[in-house]
């Protein structure tokens, strides 16, 4: 029985020291898996440059990150969260109700979402967003009413498209990338579709109709949810030359030798077209800083300064080497001044 006494003592000692260890000297960052690689880069650079303990960066997804970020103020809560979309009203309300009122929003640049195909694909892929919508929506409009998507071959949508079965691999519904794709490609494609718009005009509010009827991806086979792992999609594309994949631009950039982008609305996916917004699937990336933690958590201010430095953010900075599409110089200067000072009001209204 003696050994159990010892164990019990040891356990209580461990538990006590756990509470003592809560006073932390590391910055804690959560949030979007899309912003993750960029934050990762800044964290490592920051730690190497200053010798400060490296911030802990965790990829929780945009929504999950907001939940953790808005838990409250204090050492046990995250300091920064990354997001692949702006904070929503309900998330802001959650933050405010937990006492997180001082927040600084930083839009760090753009990320392109690409559709890509293996280089050994015989066809020359050039799609319009309308065609993407018609190929992937669960229901489309025919003869004035919604019907389950009948298309199984690209050539059934348009004669000029290759005569191969529709196979598109993309992210699951839990992913921020999926949200972005639905909004940027499916909704936009829906709005280009004349038949769908006839119904939408008749509805009470056009944007609500689009949201309600054009958001669902088909589940009868042609669209394959390939999981969160984009490398798997890349591998699958290489084995099936007629399959298309949807993922972040950085995965295309790293696999230029085997993959080529699908031109959308006639535009090539490149750094320049993504930055200018010409390429239709580009989205802004954000991070949010808890201002109450500045000056309290050691190095947080210095970390934000590093994130905002030209060295990181500019179009020749190390973030752009990783695939981030930088903001134009004047917007960047305004952003840097606002975020490093932590001044300016932030709130989200409907």
């Amino acid at each position: 029985m003696k050994s159990f006494g010892i164990t019990a003592t040891a356990l209580s000692v461990i538990a006590l020291s756990a509470t003592a260890a809560a006073a932390r000297d590391q910055i804690r960052i959560v949030g979007s898996s899309t912003v993750f690689p960029y934050t990762q880069a800044v964290a490592e650079e920051f730690s190497n440059q200053t010798g400060a303990p490296a911030p802990i960066v965790e990829s929780t997804g945009t929504g999950g990150g907001m939940q953790i970020f808005c838990e409250g103020v204090g050492e046990n809560t995250a300091d920064i969260t990354g997001a692949s979309r702006a904070m929503t009203k309900s998330e802001y309300d959650l933050c405010v109700s937990n006492g997180v009122t001082d927040i600084t929003e930083a839009m760090i640049g753009y990320d392109g979402l690409v559709m890509a195909v293996a280089r050994n694909s015989e066809a020359d892929w050039n799609l319009t967003l309308e065609q993407v919508y018609l190929a992937l929506a669960a229901e489309i409009v025919q003869d004035g009413k919604l019907v389950p998507n009948p298309y199984m071959n690209w050539s059934e949508i348009d004669e000029s498209l290759p005569d191969v079965a529709i196979t598109v691999m993309g992210p699951p519904p839990t992913s921020g990338t999926r949200d972005a794709f639905v909004e940027l490609a499916m909704h936009a494609g829906c709005e280009e579709n004349a038949a769908a718009m006839e119904l939408a005009e008749a509805a009470e509010k056009k944007s609500d109709w689009v949201k309600e009827n054009c958001s669902r991806m088909r589940t009868d086979g042609p669209f394959i949810e390939a999981g969160e792992n984009d490398n798997l999609i890349v591998q699958r594309l290489n084995t099936d030359p007629n399959a298309l994949g949807i993922f972040g631009y950085s995965f295309l950039y790293e696999n230029m030798d085997t993959l080529i982008d699908v031109h959308l609305n006639g535009v090539d996916a490149e750094m320049e077209t993504i930055a200018s917004g010409e390429y239709p699937l580009s989205r802004p990336l954000f991070f949010y800083v808890k201002d109450a933690h500045r000056g309290v958590i050691p190095n947080l201010q210095e970390f934000v300064d590093e994130y905002m430095s030209e060295n990181a953010l500019s179009d020749t900075g190390y973030l752009s080497e990783r695939g981030l599409v930088a903001l134009p110089a004047d917007e960047r200067a305004e952003l840097q001044a606002r975020v490093t000072s932590g001044e300016g009001d932030f709130s989200v209204t409907e």
Partner: protein, 430 residues
């Protein structure tokens, strides 16, 4: 009744009758079929294992070697101030070294040429100079990793004949690298960094040290908690508890717990340890607590089986000479059951080592560039590190993912081998 004698008078089938031989042959055929099926099942399992190992080894072998470049670096006093060696412009020093290595290269190529060496080169150099400031003003030789794209080139993963626009490296980049190779500056030594470095966003610098230490801490905490608790629970249930409906319910529950999916324990850990007790996210200590919950039922079941295997005659003999129940358990039964208990514990821990889902929920899949120095520092574990690397876009991480899996498998094999060794060494047959 009158038929019976008739039946009896019929000649009994003998060993040599055709009917008997036919039945025997059929039974032999069936036996051979069963044997073949069993063998085929094993062969299939081995084939699958072989395919798994082959893909891992063929994919991961490259990551065990890393391309390095040896550079002559002129550390000038303008770039590095002797009064403040840590604050020197080491990026500039490396750029000067590249300039000296490629004297005829035009200025606009310098940025691309500096990209040959890994980003870590400047920090390697800084640490050398800080350690020995007298090197300022001299030209020193350093050996640093090359960046990932060139590492892939050296390992033959870049198709040089393909169209220039489809590669990350231009023809000029490749020519520059080949020149370095011709000068004998490129080496491909064993990749010690894989074991001595923590995670990094650069594949050429990323290593498993943080993950290995994180896993070790988590397993240590898991062992310290689940081993004594598990043995205690098993001793009570096996030696002391009366056989009532209540103890039956406990028994059923323990067996059920052993089959609960691990993600459920992760959610429990998230709710209890993080949200309620307010413990630190990503800490191996919390990971160990969660894994302990998961391992406990396994250890209890293994311990009970080991205790049961000790013959009752031993207990009765000890009780017969006047030993108390406690003396019987600690003096006789437990030592005899120990080999079985240890085997069960090690197998339980090996299972915990490979567990991913509960660790993801408590944030042990964070990006941490330093190895934890206590169980309370944020860290990853081996399986979660594999998870992070598998999701990284850089080419170098593809091979490193396989290498990390091989390292994890290596640890699992070691632990299971230890369990088998203990069993064969100490097991007693009655």
């Amino acid at each position: 009744m009158t038929d019976l004698p008739n039946q009896r008078s019929k000649p009994a089938p003998t060993w040599s009758s055709d009917e008997f031989k036919g039945r025997l042959a059929r039974r032999h055929r069936k036996e051979a079929g069963l044997k073949f099926l069993g063998l085929a099942a094993i062969m299939l399992a081995f084939l699958m294992l072989g395919i798994l190992l082959w893909t891992l080894i063929s994919g991961g072998a490259q990551a065990f070697r890393q391309t390095h470049v040896t550079l002559d670096v002129p550390v000038s006093a303008e770039m590095v101030d002797a009064a403040d060696p840590a604050g020197g412009n080491y990026r500039g020093v490396i750029a000067e070294a590249m300039q000296a290595t490629f004297p005829e290269a035009p200025q606009e190529r310098m940025r691309a040429l500096s990209g040959i060496v890994s980003n870590a080169a400047q920090f390697v150099l800084r640490d050398r100079i800080v350690e020995d400031p007298s090197l300022i003003g001299q030209t020193i030789q350093i050996r640093v990793p090359v960046s990932d794209v060139y590492d892939q080139l050296k390992k033959g993963n870049v198709d040089e004949l393909s169209d220039e626009s489809t590669r990350r490296l231009s023809d000029a980049d490749i020519a520059a690298f080949r020149q370095l190779e011709a000068e004998g500056r490129i080496t491909l030594p064993f990749n010690w960094a894989l074991f001595t470095q923590a995670d990094s966003r650069f594949p050429e610098l990323a290593g498993l040290k943080g993950a290995i230490i994180g896993s070790a801490y988590a397993l240590l905490v898991c062992f310290l908690i689940s081993f004594p608790l598990g043995i205690g629970a098993a001793i009570y249930l096996e030696e002391f508890a009366p056989k009532t409906r209540f103890s039956d319910i406990i028994e059923v529950n323990i067996n059920n717990l052993a089959a609960v999916p691990s993600v459920v324990f992760g959610l429990l850990g998230l709710a209890v340890f993080l949200n309620w007790f307010g413990m630190q996210r990503s800490a191996p200590f919390v990971g160990g607590l969660v894994l302990a919950l998961m391992t406990l039922p396994t250890i209890i079941i293994a311990t009970r089986a080991a205790l049961k295997a000790v013959p009752p005659s031993i207990r009765e003999a000890a009780l017969g000479v006047g030993a108390s129940k406690q003396q019987v358990v600690f003096g006789h039964v437990l030592p005899l059951a120990m080999p079985g208990i240890l085997t069960g514990t090690i197998i339980g821990l090996a299972q915990a080592l490979g567990e991913t889902a509960p660790l993801l929920l408590i944030g042990m899949n964070a990006f941490v560039t330093s190895a934890p120095s206590t169980p309370f520092d944020a860290s990853t574990a081996l399986p979660t590190q594999i998870f992070i690397w598998a999701d990284s876009p850089e080419r170098g991480f593809v091979a490193r993912t396989s290498a990390a899996i091989l390292v994890l498998l290596g640890f699992l094999v070691l632990m299971n081998a230890l369990a088998i060794y203990l069993r064969s060494k100490f097991e007693r047959r009655w």
